[in-house]
Amino acid sequence: MEVDQLQRSFLEYSRLLFHEGFLDGQFSQLQLLQDESNPDFVLEVVSLFFEDSERLLNDLTIALDQQNVDFKKLDAHVHQFKGSSSSIGAQRVKNVCIAFRNLCDEQNAEGCLRCLQQVKQEYLLVKTKLEALLRLEQQIVAAGGAIPMLNEFC
């Protein structure tokens, strides 16, 4: 594919993701921090997010699986997840985490279980989309092009 075609696809796809709320301005901020001296910055941060998230989701599942749920511990995990999703701009995941924390406060085990399912879903969605977006980025770079800036979403 031609570079400009790839770049157009990238912009279109980005716009869609922002429009649907999967990503927010923080993701654009990450793009801003990427340059020739740190060409893989976004990829690195996103990869860290995936690793971190998988660990957290596992911890959350275990915590909710207990006879007596430790809501404080649960909340601590959700707080972490909210933080990391916020840091990379994964807006929908972050929003579910906010709701999740409220349910932890209420010590609502059933509600928390439902929320856990929801956060898993949102995470998988954003993971798929980020992987696709980053693949596009890689293709652009491989074709010798520059990654278009997502300034309008800052």
Partner: protein
């Protein structure tokens, strides 16, 4: 040591238990040409800063403190720390630094993902220079330089008689129209455990030494603060 030169001479210590946030803040700071060290806890931060419990307590009763650089292996011009950390919180770290004769002059900035007005006030009153809401952005990091420049110029004034010092370092912060002086002024006073509520002192309006960009609220994302 000469006056502040190139930005590359400024060294920031970033403290955060989140790996992702450490990576982010490191990139933000390096983009701004600062040297960066990251640690994942308050205790590691104190260790890096060369803080020694007994030594600090011995020194605190003396008029003239030992040279601020005495315990520091590496010069740190600013500490930026997350608030919520297991074990020692960012607030605890801030407090320990302000209680330390060798560390109290290092500017401290707190970051938090939660917009809790009482938390913010508490940190500022304890002597934090700034309070950033996460996620931290480049525009926040751009606010750090003045604090570091001040330290470079004024470190050697530590032992001067405070009466003769001009209040060049006094700043005004605004929260919903209220004026709260930073505790920087308190730092320059004699060592007293007077970090207790000196709110009455802080409400004076400060016209001296204000730089133009100090007049707007500095709290990223904050709109309303309740009293």
């Amino acid at each position: 040591m000469g006056l502040a030169a190139a930005d590359s001479q400024f060294h920031v210590l970033a403290v955060d238990d989140s790996l992702i946030d450490r990576k982010l803040i490191e990139r933000l700071l390096k983009t701004s040409s600062y040297q960066v060290t990251t640690v994942d806890s308050g205790s590691k931060a104190l260790e890096f800063l060369g803080w020694h419990d007994e030594d600090e307590r011995n020194n605190s009763s003396e008029e003239t403190s030992v040279s601020p650089k005495n315990h520091q292996e590496v010069e740190v011009n600013l500490v930026i720390t997350d608030y919520c950390m297991p074990g020692m919180t960012g607030y605890d770290l801030l407090k320990k630094m302000k209680e330390s004769s060798s560390l109290r002059n290092i500017p401290v900035v707190i970051m938090s993902s939660e917009n809790v007005p009482s938390r913010i006030t508490r940190c500022l009153e304890e002597g934090a220079e700034e309070f950033f809401l996460k996620p931290v952005r480049l525009s926040d990091v751009n606010k750090l330089k003045p604090h570091m420049m001040r330290t470079k110029c004024c470190n050697k004034d530590d032992d001067d008689d405070i009466q003769n010092q001009k209040p060049e370092n006094l700043e005004k912060q605004e929260i919903n129209g209220e004026e709260i002086q930073t505790v920087l002024q308190l730092q320059q006073q004699q060592q007293q455990p007077s970090q207790t509520n000196n709110n009455t002192n802080k409400r004076k309006s400060m016209d001296e030494g204000l730089s133009p960009d100090r007049t707007r609220p500095r709290y990223n994302g904050l709109t309303v603060m309740s009293n």
